[in-house]
Symmetry: C2
Subunit: 331 residues, 2 copies
């Protein structure tokens, strides 16, 4: 029997700046890894779906990363996805299990550490592709920031920036289900209307609203209990001035700061409010949360919610271009 061979995608070299070129990668064919190569607590997996995400840009710049470990030059690209276990030396996984959460090599077959992966299954309402779609990483990031870190209580007020984005629109909907008053912020009137159509009690366009601090105050005169921050910078600073005592800030992203040079960084003025208002501010990276109870909770909730409508595949059609990401339907 001749050895099986697989295709995989290799990062040729680090790409410190600018847009990567196809020549920064190469496709190669190599012998497939086999079960006898597994060390302790590893999985031999066959990826079925691989997710292409913006955060991966930082993993190939060759700089020491804090957020997520960088990838190695001359090694495979790796990212989130969904795969099936072919062999396992971890007691938590058996051949045939579907897994998500951890990093898959971009290869037809790969050996990966079991830590970080979670088992998932297909049901009558959830198909496997949903785990990289409506049940994918942005939705789970919304769940962890809002529920696990934000600890929402019925009747509280939530403010969410980039509310029409993949993460933001899931935040809006999970928050409405929990009986929160939801204020969404987005960058166009069309997005604002979309955010309202998802159930937000108030929404405004940060590009035309004038003074951020006042615009938030007008939309949430009672103050903000949870700020789900997707943008950072000046808007975060303004949000701090609107937080109620014991408020929580889920620091998910800082879209306003990703593309600025070092001396253009927005400098925060209102950090003293963290003490004055007894705030809790938590930064997180979603990959850390797949092996925690939050993932099962998230699946149970979103499964239920989306199942009540036409099933997840119908929902995936709801995507309205890149900026409108994924949505769930409240029944």
């Amino acid at each position: 029997m001749s050895a099986e061979s697989i295709t995989r995608v290799i990062l040729n070299n680090y790409v410190p700046d600018g847009t990567p070129n196809p020549s920064d990668f190469r496709i190669e064919t190599v012998p497939a890894p086999t079960a006898d190569m597994l060390r302790d607590s590893e999985l031999l997996v066959r990826p079925l779906y691989l997710s292409c995400d913006p955060y991966m840009r930082n993993r190939i710049n060759g700089r020491d990363g804090y957020y997520i470990d960088g990838l190695k030059a001359a090694a495979p690209i790796a990212g989130l996805g969904l795969g099936v276990v072919e062999a396992s030396t971890s007691s938590g996984f058996a051949p045939g299990d579907f897994v998500t959460g951890g990093f898959f090599d971009w290869a037809q077959k790969a050996i990966v550490p079991a830590a970080g992966f979670s088992k998932v299954s297909e049901t009558d309402r959830v198909s496997l592709v949903d785990y990289v779609g409506v049940l994918g990483m942005p939705s789970f990031a919304a769940y962890v920031g809002l529920v696990t870190l934000g600890k929402p209580k019925k009747g509280e007020t939530l403010l969410v920036s980039s509310a029409a984005g993949a993460v933001g629109q899931m935040v809006v909907q999970l928050a409405k289900i929990r009986g929160l008053r939801v204020v969404g912020v987005a960058g166009s009137d069309k997005k604002v209307e979309f955010v309202k159509s998802l159930g937000a009690d108030a929404a405004f366009n940060y590009k035309t609203c004038g003074n951020f601090e006042q615009a938030i105050r007008q939309a949430a005169p009672e103050g903000v209990d949870i700020y789900f921050d997707n943008v950072g910078g000046e808007f975060l600073d303004a949000a701090l001035m609107n937080m109620r005592p014991y408020g929580r800030v889920a620091a998910c992203g800082q879209a306003s700061q990703y593309n600025v040079t070092a001396n253009e960084t927005y400098r925060m003025d209102n950090f003293l409010q963290v003490i004055n208002r007894k705030l809790n501010v938590t930064g997180y990276v979603i990959t850390d949360h797949y092996p925690t109870p939050s993932f099962a909770e998230f699946l149970a909730e979103v499964d239920e919610v989306i199942g009540l409508e036409n099933g997840p595949t119908a929902l995936i059609d709801v995507f309205v271009g890149n900026n409108f990401g994924k949505r769930i339907i409240r029944v």
Copy 2:
């Protein structure tokens, strides 16, 4: 029997700015409150010791406060202290109980809400006055920030600013007991020596160290797991650049920012690190923590630690002027 009368201290008027004058207060004699005046969940208390603390300045400025509710003009001054219960309509307290934690009116007798108070007792090692001394508010603030919020693990590295202060020196000692590597920062070489004498593994003078970020890196090349922040501003910004992934920042105070005008506020440059390094930043006010399990844990630990030496009264002699606050001895 003629009605008992009591003396109390009244805030005559708000004092928005500047140093308060004696004429901003008045002493009055009024009939004593009595047990039959108690509503639900209230205590009739006789304060034994009342604590004079800098934070009280903010309570009399008449501005809407977030940190701690302001006092009312023409009503008694109130603050932390230690008192004895004379009557109670709260199931948690009985006549004769000693209590601390909540706010006592500055009066010989007062009716106060039971919420916020905790029972304490005199032991062979702890005398009542210790609850406003070595077991007082700054020490408890150290405990809550370091232990309850910082969640220290043996072998981790702690950075603490204003390390020679009342709060800071307790942080240093509680951290050494827990097997942390401790880096202390203070504003004079004498204070730096004092911080080292308390057991800090490294300490430096922030006034002469040059670049903060580099000075921290030199003292903690392995990075910082917990930053206990007493000063805020530029030093906090530099600390963020030295945090290890999943680091915690206990936001206790911002001494560097209290006396600056609005446009002198230090503007933070490194807030993106909260996400990049997955940090948890928590602001807190110590009065919130008296009715929590942290208070009993704190008493048990500090009681034990100080008891091993010459007892708390001996320790109170260790005070080395205002800036050297309170200390405990590690045995």
